[in-house]
Each structure stands twice: as structure tokens, then as C-alpha cells.
């Protein structure tokens, strides 16, 4: 079991409101094809954590479950929920017919924005202006003896359940796939914040889509990004490893693709990975059953 400073973390309420989907008409994909895409914001009755990133008709950047957005500042990315909510934090509906219902925070897609899982029957009760409160806890989380490994957007409960082991002075993290940093795109270098911004595994090069089996990835998968050090921003560092969670789906727009929230980042020699096809936050958080 990992030892952490979890007893010293500040637990703070933050709030978001279910965010309606918007429409912009046709946009142009990487090869010049018009696309009228669907899948961001709103209540997604179809796609949930654990479902594939690819397969949904006309979808782009598909977000699982329920998308909420902070309203305490003019820009959603400046709101408290954007920086403080962590994967695994408990969520509660505080208005409307679903008031009192419980869910779980599952990541952040900058743009549309904060993602919460609720059971299907609660999704049916939610409306597009319901308020959701998160008991945020996780900012400042540090693993004992690995103070130089940056932990981001993880509740202590989630971090402890991932299945990370310590071996020969390194953290060994179970991941679904290892990907090279050079196929990461939109969001790289955007700004030094790792709490508020995801970045995309580019799905707009057919050759690398096949080479790295990107269509097999699922929403909520934990993956490794080699040669990236996402401790203070998102960017290249040879030999580093960044561990991330996939928060949204496929894209046909140039430089975009499945989005990743970095959750661990280390300079060379501190983090190793082992392949585990079940390393998905849906299974880890107990909100989706593993297939038999």
C-alpha cells in the first residue's frame, strides 16, 4: 500500500452546473471533410466510463456521462472546480428532481468541461441546469518517498486503488497502453496548468492510429505517455514517463484525439509501467463491472 500525506489534504466544496451542448454547424476535419459533430457537454445517455473512445456515429471529443461547468468565474477554466476537483471525489446533486443523488468526479475536458459519473436512473432525472457539488480533495497529494513524482487530479482513494506497487525504488503503474509522446497534440504547451487542461492523443494520422491500436482505447483507461514530463505543463522530456487518464473520445479534427488528464509525472528513473487491460477508472472506482 502506498503511503501518502492524505491526512493533511484540505477538503473543499466546489460546484458545477450541468452544461448544455452547443452547436456550431459543420467544421472541417484533418482531410478537408465537413463534419457536424456531436458528443461534448450535456447528459450523455449512451457513452459512459469504460466504453470505447471510437465507434460513436459522428462523435467528436465524446464525453462520458454528465458534463458540468463551474459558474463562479466568467471562464469555466478559472472556476474552483476546474483546479480542485479530483478523480474519485464524491459528487452530489444539490438541486432539482435528482437532489441528493450521488456520483463520482471522473476527469476534466478543458472546453466543455468537468465530468461526473452518475448511475443511469439518476441521469434520467437530471436536467440541464441542475447543480452538482463535489467534495474536492487531492490537490497537494504526495506519495511518501516519491516527493519528486508529481501527482495531479487524483483523490487519495483513487490513487490507492490504482494498484501501484513500489519496486526497487520505483513506482510500477498498471496501464492499458504505452504511447509515444510525439503523437500527443492539442493542449501540449497550452499553459503551465496541469489541473485545468487535458491534452489529446492525436487520432488524425491513420498510420499511427493502427500502429498504436488507438481505436481499442476506452474512456477512463489509464495509459502511459513516454518521453513527456507533465509536472508543470505538458511537454517533451526524453526518458520521462507521464501517466494519464483518458477523459474524452476520438477526433477527426487536425491534431486532436482522445483527451488525457495527466495524473502522475516523473523525470527518468522513477516510474515504470506494467500492462494491465483492466486499468480503467470505471473498474478502479467501482462504477463499472469488469467483463467476465
Amino acid at each position: 500500500m502506498l503511503k501518502t500525506n492524505k491526512d493533511r489534504l484540505i477538503e473543499t466544496a466546489v460546484e458545477g452546473v450541468v452544461q448544455p451542448a452547443s452547436g456550431r454547424g459543420f467544421s472541417v476535419t484533418w482531410d478537408g471533410t465537413p463534419k457536424n459533430s456531436i458528443g461534448t457537454a450535456s447528459i450523455n445517455y449512451t457513452a459512459s466510463v469504460g466504453d470505447p473512445v471510437y465507434k460513436w456515429v459522428d462523435a467528436d471529443h465524446v464525453e462520458p456521462d454528465v458534463t458540468i461547468q463551474g459558474r463562479d468565474k466568467p471562464s469555466a477554466s478559472d472556476c474552483a472546480i476546474a483546479s480542485l476537483a479530483c478523480i474519485g471525489n464524491p459528487a452530489k446533486v444539490v438541486s432539482g428532481d435528482a437532489k441528493g443523488s450521488k456520483g463520482v468526479f471522473i476527469g476534466r475536458h478543458a472546453g466543455a468541461d468537468d465530468l461526473v459519473w452518475f448511475p443511469d436512473d439518476i441521469k434520467e432525472k437530471l436536467t440541464l441546469d441542475d447543480r452538482v457539488q463535489i467534495r474536492s480533495k487531492g490537490v497537494g497529494l504526495v506519495i511518501d518517498d516519491f516527493e519528486d513524482v508529481k501527482v495531479n487530479k487524483c483523490s487519495p482513494e483513487f490513487l490507492e486503488k490504482i494498484g501501484i506497487e513500489v519496486k526497487d525504488g520505483k513506482l510500477v503503474v498498471p496501464v492499458v497502453a504505452e504511447l509515444p509522446g510525439y503523437i500527443l497534440g492539442a493542449g501540449i504547451g497550452y499553459d503551465p496548468n496541469i489541473e485545468t487542461v487535458d491534452y489529446d492523443i492525436q487520432s488524425t494520422c491513420p498510420e499511427t492510429n493502427e500502429e498504436f491500436n488507438l481505436k481499442d482505447l476506452r474512456l477512463g483507461d489509464i495509459i502511459a505517455i513516454n518521453n513527456h514530463y507533465d509536472a508543470w505543463g505538458r511537454g517533451r522530456y526524453e526518458g520521462s514517463v507521464t501517466i494519464g487518464v483518458i477523459v474524452h473520445g476520438w477526433s477527426d479534427f487536425a491534431g486532436h484525439g482522445p483527451g488525457v488528464n495527466p495524473i502522475l509525472a516523473a523525470l527518468p528513473g522513477k516510474v515504470e509501467t506494467r500492462i494491465d487491460p483492466d486499468s480503467n477508472i470505471g473498474y478502479i472506482l467501482g462504477i463499472r463491472e469488469k467483463p467476465q
Binding site: 482531410d31 504547451g189 499553459d191
Partner: protein
């Protein structure tokens, strides 16, 4: 200076398959766009570098008196994505600002239309945009020293923009963004056996390209990352100068900027390096092709200073 004076289409020598490029420049629309000189951009709370240091980043926005096309990009104190020359942006509503950012081209002439140097001319040398500081986009302009000394923040600028729709004859699958006929025809591009040989100061692999992926191709820029310090010497980035022409291997900018194995993008160095994760040397992207039609040829002279005959 490249062979811009050779009549387009001249074949020489016999059997080499060589000819200078032709374009459709006579069919392009020319429109006026209005901008103004932008203020310098800073963040009073500092920015975090890739390794967690606080940095007062300077050099973006405003009038940079001592950063000019042709100068080395490294070594400027506190510089971070520092821009050569004068930074401008469009005026009016968002749509009008975007028109200024998207429909102007490198090599287009600009004229100052207000202030102490009203009537003076300059030349567009790049486009650069970023989230911090300021979340702004710039169209960068070169002026001679006399104009520079008397230019003021807020002075109005008029661009006679001519670049949208530019094509190289026989190469409709080579996309051109933000490139004026003066630039594209002045780059010394040779049409040899169905390929375009493009003189460049440096070729850069996609593995070190970063911020700018996922953005639209006709404004702003893409970065060559400099947050992993050993890359700077290994890939020869330390020899780059403002205005250098560079090739980005396996990068497409056809309909947005993205990784695409086998593609080539040709661009112009429009900013200095960065210590921010994922950011670095800015490149304004000009030519793009998916399938090997653009073939970079190394040339020390591949710099805007020579191509556009800047004062």
C-alpha cells in the same frame, strides 16, 4: 538572394527537369485589413517553467527595438517566445480581428496610417499566438530602424493583403497558408521532376514539435519544443535565427496542424525559444503537403532577410 528574377517556367539545363515555380498570383484578390501596434504582454504573477521555476517572461508583444529578423534567437535575457520586430493585431469585432490574423500573408506590405510615422511602410514577417501571457495573437511586422524609433503602441496599420488562394501551378495538393506571392516565389523553390525542392536553414523532426498542434493553419504558429535542453544542440536549434525557413518532418498543416507520418510543413521562425513545457521556437507555417511533394534542401541563406530584401 534567390533567383527570383528568372522568368517563371524557364527550363534549364536541358534534361535536368528543373524549372522555377509558377503561381496563380494574377488571380488573387487584394483587400485592405486594419490593425494596430499591440502592447507588450507580461504576467505579473510569473509563469512556471517546465521544471517548476518562476519566470518573468518578456519579449512577446509590443515594439521590440533590438530583436530583428536575421538575429540569433537564443541568449536574450528573460526572453521567452520573444518576437522580432513589431507585434500587431486586428481591430474591431472578433470576426474582423480574425480576418486580420487569417487573411494577411508573410511578405504583404503594411502602411502606418496614424501617428508620427504615418505613411511609412513595413513588411509582414510572421504570425504568432499563445495562451499566456494575454491569450493573444499577433501579426508581426518588420520596419526599418527610423520608422521603428518613431512608432508608437496603438498606431494604426493598413495591410494590402494578398495571399488567400495562392497555389503553385501543378501542385494543387501543396497547401499554402499565410504566404504572399513575394514570399513563395522568392524562396528559391525549384520544380524538379514532380517535387518541389525548398531551401531551408534546418529540418526538424516531429518528435520535438509541440504547442500549436490542433490549431487552425492560417493564423498563429506551431512550436519546436525547447523544454528538453539536450534537444537544442542535438537538433541544431542553437544556430537558428529569426526569419529562418525551416522544415517540419511528419507535420501537416493542410486543414489544421497535426502529426501525419510522411507529411512535410515548411515555415518561418517567428519567435525565440521557451522554457515553458511543450513550448519553444515559434514557426509560422506556410507550405504543407501530405505525401512528399515538398523536399527540403539545406541552405544557410534561407532567411526572410534575403527573401524579402528587408532593410
Amino acid at each position: 538572394m534567390y533567383l527570383t528574377s528568372a522568368p517563371a517556367g524557364v527550363i534549364s539545363p536541358v534534361g535536368s527537369g528543373f524549372c522555377m515555380i509558377k503561381t496563380n498570383k494574377d488571380k488573387l484578390l487584394t483587400l485592405a485589413f486594419q490593425g494596430e501596434v499591440s502592447p507588450a504582454q507580461v504576467v505579473r504573477t510569473y509563469q512556471a517553467t517546465w521544471d517548476g521555476r518562476a519566470k518573468m517572461c518578456i519579449g512577446v508583444g509590443g515594439i521590440n527595438y533590438n530583436l530583428k529578423t536575421g538575429m540569433e534567437i537564443f541568449g536574450w535575457a528573460n526572453g521567452d517566445r520573444a518576437e522580432p520586430g513589431v507585434s500587431t493585431d486586428g481591430v474591431g469585432k472578433d470576426g474582423q480581428k480574425n480576418g486580420y490574423r487569417q487573411k494577411t500573408g508573410v511578405g504583404n506590405k503594411v502602411q502606418v496610417t496614424s501617428g508620427d510615422v504615418k505613411g511609412d511602410y513595413g513588411t509582414i514577417i510572421g504570425k504568432h499566438g499563445y495562451r499566456l501571457p494575454g491569450n493573444v495573437q499577433h501579426v508581426q511586422v518588420h520596419f526599418n530602424d527610423k520608422t521603428l524609433d518613431n512608432l508608437n503602441i496603438g498606431d494604426k496599420i493598413k495591410v494590402k493583403a494578398r495571399c488567400i488562394g495562392l497555389r503553385i501551378t501543378g501542385y494543387d495538393d501543396v497547401m499554402i497558408h499565410s504566404g504572399s506571392p513575394e514570399l513563395v516565389e522568392g524562396m528559391g523553390i525549384e520544380d524538379i521532376n514532380g517535387k518541389l525542392k525548398v531551401p531551408v536553414a534546418l529540418e526538424v523532426p516531429a518528435k520535438i514539435v509541440g504547442a500549436g498542434y490542433g490549431t487552425q493553419a492560417h493564423s498563429s504558429h506551431i512550436d519546436i519544443q525547447t523544454c528538453y535542453p539536450p534537444d537544442i544542440k542535438e537538433y541544431g536549434l542553437d544556430g537558428l535565427r529569426f526569419g529562418d525557413i525551416v522544415a517540419l518532418r511528419d507535420v501537416s498543416c493542410n486543414y489544421g496542424r497535426h502529426y501525419y507520418r510522411g507529411a512535410t510543413t515548411i515555415g518561418i521562425v517567428c519567435s525565440g525559444p521557451s522554457e515553458i513545457s511543450g513550448q519553444g521556437i515559434g514557426v509560422t507555417t506556410i507550405l504543407s503537403n501530405l505525401e512528399g511533394k515538398l523536399q527540403p534542401v539545406e541552405s544557410k541563406d534561407a532567411n526572410l532577410m534575403n527573401i524579402l530584401e528587408l532593410e
